[in-house]
Each structure stands twice: as structure tokens, then as C-alpha cells.
Amino acid sequence: MNKETVIEVQKVGIWYGENKAVKDINLTIERQKVFALIGPSGCGKSTLLRCFNRMNDFVDGFRIEGSISYRGMNIYDKKVDPVVVRKCIGMVFQKPNPFPSSIFENIAWAPRINGYKGDISELVETSLTKAGLWKEVKDRLKSSGFSLSGGQQQRLCIARTIAMQPDVILMDEPCSALDPISTSIIEELISELKKQYSIVIVTHSMQQAARVSDQTAFLFRGDLIEMGDTSKIFSMPDQKLTKEYISGKFG
């Protein structure tokens, strides 16, 4: 396996007004790997994740210093259009958020507005298949996205992200609103997806991080405490704090 870097975080500090939510951290995210961000609530995981596709641009008072490079180009460079960044780096949210339209439309919308030239129906089918949802919905593509169960909705959101053919997929606690079975379906899906995409996932579940990720970064109060191979972080972490966190001493 080659170790190609997709996202490189260099000395990134993130501010919300006067509050510095993330403090000067460095990270490297590799291609076709699953990268997990863990840490206690409020430590800045979502904040950091949202910077990878410039979703923080919509927050008032947001400021970033340092650089986040995607394939060697700083995504916060003046020449870079955030719309294009979000096309290459897709996002799945914590709460499933299908559009208030049909299952088909949910997936077809983004390719259509981005001027997709191929056959949209075919793209819808392949995306749903990749998200493991095709069999369940193929007879009801016209019904509303809201008529699906929570777990199905989340897979619909994943399918919709896949349909834009991104390079990286960001997931912010994608299973936190789901039952154990839906969770395991999505975890399998993640392992499947990493053959084609690079994935960054935020999770509160140590087991999930251990199961699905190749690399893990542990954040604490905005600082990066430790980063490395998941197997190492979970078996013999260098830092005492990491050890305490993964063993559930605080959370």
C-alpha cells in the first residue's frame, strides 16, 4: 500500500470569536484509510472536521490560522472556491438530514446541479448499491426520504454523498442516532467505502473507532494529544491522558 497523503493539517488554530476551540495542531490523513477523531465532548472534533470542507465558513466569528492542504493545495487559499472544496470533500452529518423530497431526488440533486453528464438513474442505482440501500428501496424510489427509518435515512445521506463522487468523506458521529444493527451496517459500509474513498470519522464510541479506523487522533480541550495507528493507540498509547480516556476513566 502506498502512503499518499490526502489532507495535511499544519499548525491549525481555530477560533470562534474570542474562544480558541482548536489549538495549533498538526495531522496527516492518508489516502484510502479511515481516520478517526476521538475525544471528550467539546474538545473540538466537529470543529476540526467542519474545517476540512469549509463548512465553518457559515459560522459567525469563525477564524482559522495555519493551513489545511488537500492534495498539496491549501483549501483556505484565496484562489480556492469553497464550493469546489465541498464537491471533492463530502460530508455526512450526525443526524440524518435527507432533503424533503423523494429518495431518487435526494441522490440525483447534487449531480444534476453540478452538471453531471452521464445517466442519472444509473448513478442513483450505483450510489444506493454502494450504500447498501438499493435492495430496500428499489421499489419505492419515488417515496419521500422521510419515509425511511433512521438507519436507512443515514445510508441515504451516505449514498447521496457518494453520488457526488467525492474523494474524501467526512462523517460526524454518523451512528450516534442509530440502533446497534444500523450501526453495524454502517460500519461495514465504511470498511467497504475505504477501498475507494478516504474517510475521516468523528466518534464517541471507542469500540467503533477501534473497529473501523486505521489511524486515530485523540483530541483534548482543543489540543492534539496523540495520533497514530489505531492498533497502537488502543493497545499501548504513549500518553497517560490517552490511556485514561480510552479506558473510560473520563469522557
Partner: protein, 305 residues
Amino acid sequence: MINLNLNSNATTKSEHPLLDQKGNLGKRKLKSYIFAFMCFLATVSVIGLIAYLILDTYLQGSAWINADFFTNFASRMPNKSGIKAALFGTIWLLGITALFSIPVGVISGIYLEELMKRGYFHRFISVNVSNLAGVPSVVYGIFGLAFFVRMLGFERSLLSGALTLSLMSLPVIIISTREAIAAVPSSIKMGALAMGATKWQTARDHIFPTALPGILTGVILALSRAVGETAPLIILGAVSFLAFVPQGWNDGYTALPMQIYTWVSKPQEEFHQLAAATIIVLLGVLLVANSIAIFIRIRSRKVKL
């Protein structure tokens, strides 16, 4: 454990805990009844008053509503009088006003809420739009007279009237559009933006359709108010007797509320009854306009859920 506890309770109080009515429960229930009764009273008195007004108008005017009433022009003789000119005038006014105020109002609302940068200028405009919503209609009439009739030289035409009514409707349409848009869950918006959509694409395909029912409510309110206005039309020089139907935007006109106003101020009882009949027609026009809007609302909801 639990069973034992229940038993011991039962022996000391000789009553099941679910049947215990002690404490302040009675007082709380009484307050709740009083509150419900007051709500009932308020609703009934308002509905009763409106029902009385409509019934009274109906009893006075219904005898005058027949085919002639719609096909005759206003006349000195009550039994030869009709509302042809006024009805067509109102339909023209409603049409032109809708044509101007809906697109301008809705697009301004979307712009102010979704696209414009927040800051001093944004706040300045927001405050002023809210203030304009409270300006009396006479003032719009005076403005229309100075600006459309005189400065732009539109004369006392349908266009001057409709543009003035449009201006009057705009603040309400803008404010309700903004509120309807603000009520769209941000998760939908973020979802769309995260897929590499521009703000405009997000607004057009997701925010606007989701907000449509709320926007339509505002549009109905604004246009209903505009169509019932008399004061600005008097100032703008809508005529009270007109023996022709306007043929285009630059014609003179009269309108239903103008007609009502003219007839009510006459001494003869018959003209008062004619005014009542005209009120019924005006209510009918509003009902039709509202039904169209409700129809669109239901349609748009069906697509969604």
C-alpha cells in the same frame, strides 16, 4: 419490593396511590379549567362578532345580487346600479399588484435572509422594512400620488394604483418570507451546501420549496389587505363613477372598496344595501384568491411528504 411498598401504603392510607386526590391537585385543575374557558370565550366572541357582521351584511345585500348587479355600471338610480367597473377594477388591481409585489417581495425576502452579508447595512434595511409594515395606507397613497402619478407621469391610472398597493404589500411579504425561510431547518441547508451547492442553488431547490407554505400565508395576508384598501385609492384619484371597464394598465379605474365607500356615503337606504351587496362580492373575491393560495399550499406539501 415494590409490591410490598404498595401494600403497606394501602394499609395506612387505605387507598390506592393512583386514586390519591390530596394536595393541590384540585386547585391546579381549576386553574386549567378557567384558562380553557377564557380561551373559549375569546374565540367565541370574535367568531360571533364576525358571523354577526357577515350575516347582517348578507341580509341587507343579498337581495341585490343578481346578474344585472354584475353587468351594470354604477348609476344614479339604485335599481339600475351595478359593480361591473368596480369588480373589473379590483381584479385588474389585484393582478397587477400580485405581479409586482410577489416576485419583488419574495426575492427580497430570500436575499435579506439568505444571501446578504449581515452587518450594519443589513440591520438598517431590516429595521426599515419592519417600520414600513406599520405605515398607514394613506401615507402610501400620498407617496404614490407624488411619485407615480406626478413624477413618473403615470397619471390616475391602474398602474399608479397597483404600484402603490404593491409598495404597501411589500413589507408584509418580505417579512413573512424571511420568517418562513428562517424556519427551514438548518440541517437541510447545511446538507445541501455540503454537497457542493452554491447558496443560490440551495435557496432555489431546498429552502424556497420548504418555506413556500409560510410565504404564501404572508402573500395572502398582504394581498387581502391591499384589495380591501380605500384610502390610498381615493388619494390616487380612483374615480367613483365609471361607465367603462378598464382595458389596460393606463386606464382610469374604480375598485370595489371605492364603490362601497361611495355608496355608503349616500343618504338613500337602497345604496346602503347596494354597498352591502358589494361587500359580499369583495369577500367572495378574497375567498377565491385565498382558495387558490391554499390549493398551491396543499399541492406543494404533497410533493414534499
